[in-house]
Structures are given as structure tokens and as C-alpha cells.
């Protein structure tokens, strides 16, 4: 098939000459969208897994006037102990661990700066609570249990997490929709290019048809030509996307925000992207084939 010239001089078409470039651009955009979808999907999954079944209990110090420091600290420590005891005795609570002042300081460091004088600040004490997602107590139960402890605030991550995860999944769906739109645009481009090619080579196609060439023989010429162009373009597009993702991954890595989606892809995700050129070439080939076969039906 490749050792002899095609019966149709498709390489000389002005319209098909741009096909690899168009496919390259489309694959580039699709690969970026897909990478974002995969990164956000993985991050949302991590959030969902990491935060479900967790609560944070805050013991807010009583900073009212006339309350001396030592007394206040003792009161906060006592409230912390009381809350821990109540939590650990609550059925369905897997663990309740207080965060040390150092751990809290490191959490606040991005906002307050390294080396801040935390001792001088009245920061709340935090208890990291893990509950059994199936049998564990809900937010209201925990609040009721801790009602007698002074300065207690219970924060259920599930409420804001649910919104965050919904947002993340929405972005993921939109990214996949963009990939689908790009694929449809690619199909339309191939249909247009193939039809142009058929119009340009109508005379030769007619000769082949009258000589007795089956429709699939003629379609094969277009489909292999389109496949090669599609493969060439999509490989270039993927290479450009890989470079872009590598740069973005490096930049995102330097931000170091815990909730920011990691833009570095796993080997499996890279493998998923690597399938794109094959998929693009197949889509191009099948589209060209169907376009030609449908058009040839019009010939007597």
C-alpha cells in the first residue's frame, strides 16, 4: 500500500495540507483539557477520601477582659481535656487527637509568616476527630456531646467539602465536554477536507469507479491518507501538550498549596494521554472512510 503512489494524488491537495496542523492544535487543546480533567478528578477524589469522616473541634480561648493569661491557659487546657474525654467516649469516634501548638503554628505559617511569635497570640486549640463514616456521630450529635465544654466550636468538613468536590467534579465534566467538542470539531474538519478532496479528484474517482473499483477501494485511499495525516498532527499536538504540562507542573509545584490540584500526572495518566494520537488517527480514518462511502453512493 505504501510502496506505490496512491491512485488519487491526495498529497497535492491544498485543503488536506493543513489537516495535520489543525489536528495538532485540536489534540493539543484536548490533551490539556484531559490533563486538567484528570488532575482535578484525582484531587477531588483525594479530598473526598481524605476529609470524609473527619471533623475539627476548636477550643477558643476566653479572651474577655480581666481574665489573666495563666488562668486563661489553664481554662483552655481543661476544656481541651474535657472535650477529648467526651469525644473518645462517644460511640463511632475512631480517634480524637489534639494538634500541638507547633503543628498549629505550621498550619498558620503561610498566612502569618515563619517565626511569628505564636506564644503571644491567643490561637485556638484544635482536635482532629476521625469518625466512622458509617456508624459515626453526625455534627449535631457531637455538638450536643460537647455542649457543656466552654469555647467549643465544631467544624464538619463535609459541608464545605461537598461543595468543593461538586465544583471539582463540575470542572472535570466541563473539561471532558471540551474534549468531546474538540473531537466533534475534528470530525467536522475531516469531513470537510475529505469532501474537498473528493471534489478536487472527482474525475479520477469517476475513472476508478467506472473501471470497477469497489467503493471500499476508493475509500481506503482517503482513509489511509487521512490516518497518516491525523497521526502526524496528533503526535505533534501531544508533544506540545507534554511540554506545556511539564512547565505548568513545575510552576504549580512551586506554589505548595495543600488544596491546589497537582498538575503532575501519574504514569497511568500519561499513558492515557499517549492513547490520544492513536484515537485521533482512528477517528480521522473512520470519519474519512464513512464520508467517502456515503458520497460514493451517489455515483451510478
Amino acid at each position: 500500500m505504501f510502496n506505490r503512489p496512491l491512485d488519487l494524488p491526495l498529497d497535492q491537495d491544498g485543503s488536506s495540507r493543513f489537516l495535520p496542523w489543525i489536528i495538532a492544535l485540536m489534540v493539543y487543546l484536548a490533551a490539556l483539557s484531559l490533563a486538567v480533567a484528570m488532575a482535578i478528578g484525582a484531587t477531588a477524589g483525594r479530598w473526598d477520601q481524605g476529609f470524609s469522616g473527619t471533623m475539627t473541634v476548636q477550643i477558643v480561648p476566653d479572651i474577655s477582659a480581666g481574665n489573666p493569661d495563666k488562668k486563661r491557659q489553664a481554662k483552655t487546657a481543661k476544656a481541651l481535656e474535657r472535650a477529648l474525654t467526651l469525644l473518645r467516649d462517644t460511640p463511632g469516634v475512631i480517634s480524637a487527637e489534639p494538634l500541638s501548638v507547633e503543628e498549629i503554628s505550621s498550619l498558620l505559617a503561610p498566612w502569618l509568616g515563619e517565626g511569628s511569635q505564636m506564644d503571644e497570640l491567643e490561637i485556638p486549640r484544635l482536635i482532629d476527630v476521625r469518625v466512622d463514616p458509617e456508624t459515626g456521630p453526625d455534627l449535631a450529635t457531637v455538638k450536643r456531646r460537647l455542649a457543656g465544654v466552654s469555647g467549643v466550636v465544631v467544624d464538619d468538613h463535609g459541608i464545605w467539602l461537598e461543595r468543593l468536590v461538586k465544583l471539582a467534579y463540575s470542572v472535570e465534566v466541563i473539561a471532558f465536554a471540551i474534549v468531546l467538542c474538540i473531537a466533534l470539531a475534528a470530525v467536522a474538519t475531516v469531513v470537510f477536507t475529505t469532501r474537498s478532496g473528493m471534489a478536487v479528484h472527482h474525475g479520477t474517482i469517476e475513472v476508478l469507479h467506472l473501471i470497477g473499483a469497489q467503493d471500499v477501494y476508493i475509500a481506503r485511499q482517503f482513509q489511509f491518507h487521512a490516518m497518516l495525516r491525523g497521526l502526524r498532527g496528533s503526535l505533534a499536538g501531544l508533544a506540545m501538550a507534554a511540554v506545556t504540562l511539564a512547565v505548568l507542573g513545575t510552576l504549580a509545584g512551586s506554589i505548595d498549596l495543600p488544596l491546589f490540584p497537582a498538575l503532575t500526572l501519574t504514569p497511568w495518566q500519561w499513558a492515557g494521554l499517549a492513547i490520544m494520537p492513536v484515537a485521533a488517527a482512528l477517528i480521522t480514518m473512520i470519519t474519512a472512510r464513512i464520508t467517502v462511502l456515503r458520497a460514493l453512493v451517489e455515483m451510478p
Partner: protein
């Protein structure tokens, strides 16, 4: 009317043809051509010779009537079978219809390629045939670099390479002098003697008169048939 020497190969029954909504260019065409026969198709320019040939090689659908080829009604043939039928017909087009970007060898090889023959068989068959038509030195030449006569020989070689049962030629002598025209008709005569049914459309009455083959004459879209010894109207 029936003409020829063997079983019927082409049968037209009350065939009419019109282009779009225009008037009928062919009217009530009825004839039968037997396998192994040789016919000239004559008529003045615009009489419908090319249209009739196009109906025979299935490039057009008739507006009415029945066309039966090789014993099969072409109107009811499945699409794939129509292509099989076309491969049994060789056509020398009036303006050759050679594929410009292909060499003479590749042009002649097309009917064998579409029939699925192996490349090695194609190479030997095509080389042999191009040698026979005197184009050994032009196997790799593209049509644009060949003279009109050479292009015509390539077109003829392409039409006969797959040993078709029916050979159609549309004005094959239109662009050549009388001597080459005579040689071409003798070439078709030889193919006919080998069993190929031949129909040659021409307006060269002098050439037709030199051979004793029956004639289908078209005038004002209607056909009449006559042998060289006696002329019979339809």
C-alpha cells in the same frame, strides 16, 4: 434486432435517456449484441453515441427501459455486483482519462489493482502489454510527457489489461491520422478474434466502410442497425 455470433451480452429494450429535465437524447433504443460480436456505433456529432456508450458501461442510468448486461438486469443489481460487472467491461475513453500523476505502467495497472491482483503479477502483465503496444521505453513516463498517440495506446492497454469480455471505445481514431486509425481498428479486430466483444463509436464513415462489421447507427436519438452486406432498419 439481434446481432452477433454467440449468446447475448448486451440487451437494450425501449431505453430512453434524458439529462435532468431536458428532452430525451436517446429514444426507444432496442438492440441485442451477442458475445464475440464486433460493432461500429456511428452517427453525426451530437447524435448520442457517447451517451449510448455511457449507458453500456454503466456511467449513466436510463430514464426508462431495460438494460441487460451479461444476462443481468443492471437496474436490480446490488452495488457491489455492478462493480464486478464493470470489471468485465474495458473502456477506451474519448479523451483517454489517464491519471496524470501516475506513470504509464501504474495507469495500465489500475484495473488489475482494483481486481486485487498481486503486485508481482501486475508488474509482469503490464510490462508485457506495454511492450506489445510499443511503449517499453515509457513505462515510467507520466501522461503529460507522452504524445497523443502514446497516451491513446496507454488508454487502450488499460482497457484490455484485464482481458474484458466487452470492449468499448469512444472515438478512438478521433485524434490520429488514417494510417494509425487503421492499425487501431486492426488491433481491436485481433482482440475480437480472441473472443472479446467490441463496440467502437466513430463518426469516420470511411473507416467503417473498410471493415465488414455491423453498424448501429444513431440519428436524432434513435438507433438503427445494419450489417455491411445489407442494411436493416430497426
Amino acid at each position: 434486432m439481434v446481432a452477433g455470433v454467440g449468446s447475448k451480452m448486451v440487451r437494450f429494450e425501449n431505453v430512453g435517456l434524458r439529462y435532468g429535465m431536458g428532452p430525451e437524447v436517446l429514444r426507444d433504443i432496442s438492440f441485442r449484441l451477442a458475445s464475440g460480436s464486433f460493432h461500429f456505433l456511428t452517427g453525426s456529432s451530437g447524435a448520442g453515441k457517447s451517451s449510448l456508450l455511457r449507458l453500456i458501461y454503466l456511467a449513466l442510468r436510463p430514464s426508462r427501459g431495460l438494460i441487460n448486461m451479461f444476462g443481468q438486469d443492471v437496474a436490480t443489481l446490488p452495488r457491489a455486483d455492478r462493480q464486478d460487472l464493470r470489471r468485465r467491461i474495458g473502456v477506451v475513453f474519448q479523451d483517454f482519462h489517464l491519471i496524470e500523476h501516475l506513470s504509464a505502467l501504474d495507469n495500465v495497472a489500475i484495473p488489475l489493482r482494483v481486481a486485487g491482483m498481486s503486485p508481482s503479477c501486475i508488474q509482469s502483465n503490464v510490462s508485457e502489454l506495454l511492450n506489445w503496444v510499443g511503449l517499453t521505453d515509457h513505462l515510467g513516463s507520466r501522461p503529460a510527457t507522452l504524445s497523443g498517440g502514446q497516451q491513446q495506446r496507454v488508454a487502450i492497454a488499460r482497457a484490455v489489461i484485464s482481458r474484458p469480455q466487452l470492449l468499448l471505445a469512444d472515438e478512438p481514431t478521433g485524434n490520429v491520422d488514417n494510417e494509425i486509425a487503421m492499425r487501431l481498428i486492426y488491433l481491436f479486430d485481433e482482440l475480437n478474434k480472441m473472443g472479446t466483444t467490441v463496440i467502437i463509436a466513430t463518426h469516420n464513415e470511411e473507416l467503417v466502410s473498410r471493415f465488414n462489421h455491423p453498424v448501429i447507427h444513431l440519428e436524432d436519438g434513435e438507433a438503427s442497425m445494419a450489417s455491411r452486406s445489407e442494411k436493416v432498419c430497426a
